[in-house]
């Protein structure tokens, strides 16, 4: 009765069958190198019989070790000519596993201590601010480069739209409004992203002309952080970010 309660107390901590075996060995003060297989098998099976307490997901793993125990027990019962020792001992396979596992558990204990020490040390999760404002070195993109980038995008759009019927018309004014709205909302516009979002070649063309107008009027400025970076369009002033 008392034993059953013992198991219950420790139930949650049995991560697996090897955990349980080690617990039984320690509890019975058994020498791990000379395990009385019959006793330990009986104890182990008694635990397994308390079905309700076994996690069903883990049951197979517990049964596997039970099978191993029973196998070893049967091997021990075979008549032999000489004393069992060393490599011939059928218990060796189990003992080796338990020793390995015991070491892993001990290592876990040591790592847990180290983890605790480290958890008390705090590191920065973000870099400190630089004394000089780290402005991105923006390169102003020429209209030519812009057009070049647009051309390649247009080519793609053309391929995509080749079979689309161009029904809808886009007014310059509407597009202009839409562009300014977008700038107000996001603070900037990703050139490629924006054109990719256009539904048809015509719409993309209309948008592009609007953008050219806005650049000419210096309402917006097209910049690149550096070569090969995406081209971004920023308002020069007046458009709150």
């Amino acid at each position: 009765m008392e034993e059953a309660r013992d198991y219950q107390v420790n139930l949650e901590v049995f991560q697996g069958p090897l955990d349980l075996l080690l617990f039984l060995i320690r509890k019975k003060k058994i020498d791990i190198h000379d395990i009385p297989i019959a006793t330990i098998t009986r104890e182990y099976l008694a635990y397994l019989n308390q079905k309700a307490k076994i996690n069903l997901e883990r049951e197979g793993e517990f049964l596997l070790i039970a099978a191993l125990l029973i196998y070893i027990k049967s091997q021990m019962l075979l008549p032999r000519e000489s004393e069992l020792e060393g490599e011939d001992d059928p218990r060796k396979i189990l003992v080796d596993r338990l020793l390995d596992f015991q070491k892993i558990k001990a290592a876990s204990t040591l790592l847990r201590e180290k983890e605790g020490q480290q958890k008390r040390l705090w590191k920065r999760s973000a870099p400190p601010p630089l004394p000089i404002k780290q402005e991105v070195e923006l390169v102003e993109v020429s209209v030519f480069e812009l057009a070049e980038a647009f051309l390649s995008l247009m080519k793609r759009k053309e391929q995509e739209n080749i079979r689309l019927i161009h029904g809808k018309e886009y007014s310059l004014e509407e597009k202009m409004k839409e562009l300014i709205e977008r700038l107000k909302e996001n603070g900037y516009l990703d050139f490629r992203e924006y054109f990719n979002s256009q539904e048809s070649l015509e719409e993309a063309l209309t948008s592009f002309f609007c953008l050219l107008e806005l650049i000419k009027a210096r309402v917006v400025i097209a910049v690149q952080e550096s070569l090969f970076h995406p081209i971004k369009v920023w308002p020069t002033q007046g458009v709150p970010s």
Partner: protein, 181 residues
């Protein structure tokens, strides 16, 4: 005022969010010789040991990193309004210990050593980047093999994988039966 190498290195370590290793420092401070750099690091680390300050330079995963001192933990947690930082689960820690001491190792080997299926905890360790896939074993089925990462070293404050608790330390724990349950 002349720029001192020691100060440059201090600022570099300060900016870096991960341990900054000697190799990187050398790649950045190209104006200085290797011996000058090594000397400056030495001097810097010593200045933090002798100077009692609130912050320190620690060595982890082969590099240098700033951190607070453990005795200030409670105040920092008040600032960040945090309870104790979350720790690895028992299963994850056991799996991690298995990988650390048996690497390179396969999932099947880890599961056999632990006596339970370790795939779930291995997945969480992969996601936490404490463990990585580094190839395949030349055995039937060519299973993936796993190793611990640099982040693993940093996590436990180890400078090198050789700094893992030794066999003697492990045996000592076993003698004392202080094993975590």
């Amino acid at each position: 005022m002349r720029t001192r190498l020691k100060d440059v290195i201090e600022s570099l370590i300060f900016v870096s969010l991960e341990p900054l290793n000697l190799e990187k420092i050398k790649n950045i401070c190209t104006e200085f010789s290797n011996s000058e750099i090594e000397e400056a690091i030495q001097e810097l680390v010593e200045s933090y040991v002798s100077n009692e300050r609130g912050i320190q330079i620690i060595q982890a995963a082969g590099g240098y990193l700033f951190s607070t001192k453990s005795e200030h933990d409670q105040w920092i947690r008040r600032l960040l309004s945090l309870e104790n930082k979350s720790k690895l689960s028992h299963a994850a820690l056991e799996t991690l210990a298995t990988v650390a001491y048996h690497q390179p190792v396969t999932l099947a080997e880890i599961s056999a050593l632990r006596g339970v299926d370790a795939s779930y905890s291995l997945k969480s360790l992969l996601q936490k980047k404490l463990v990585k896939i580094t190839g395949r074993k030349k055995s039937p089925g060519r299973p993936l093999i796993y190793r611990t990462t640099d982040k693993f070293l940093t996590y436990f404050g180890l400078n090198n994988i050789k700094d893992l608790p030794s066999e003697e330390e492990i045996l000592k724990i076993l003698d004392e039966e202080k094993i975590l349950d």
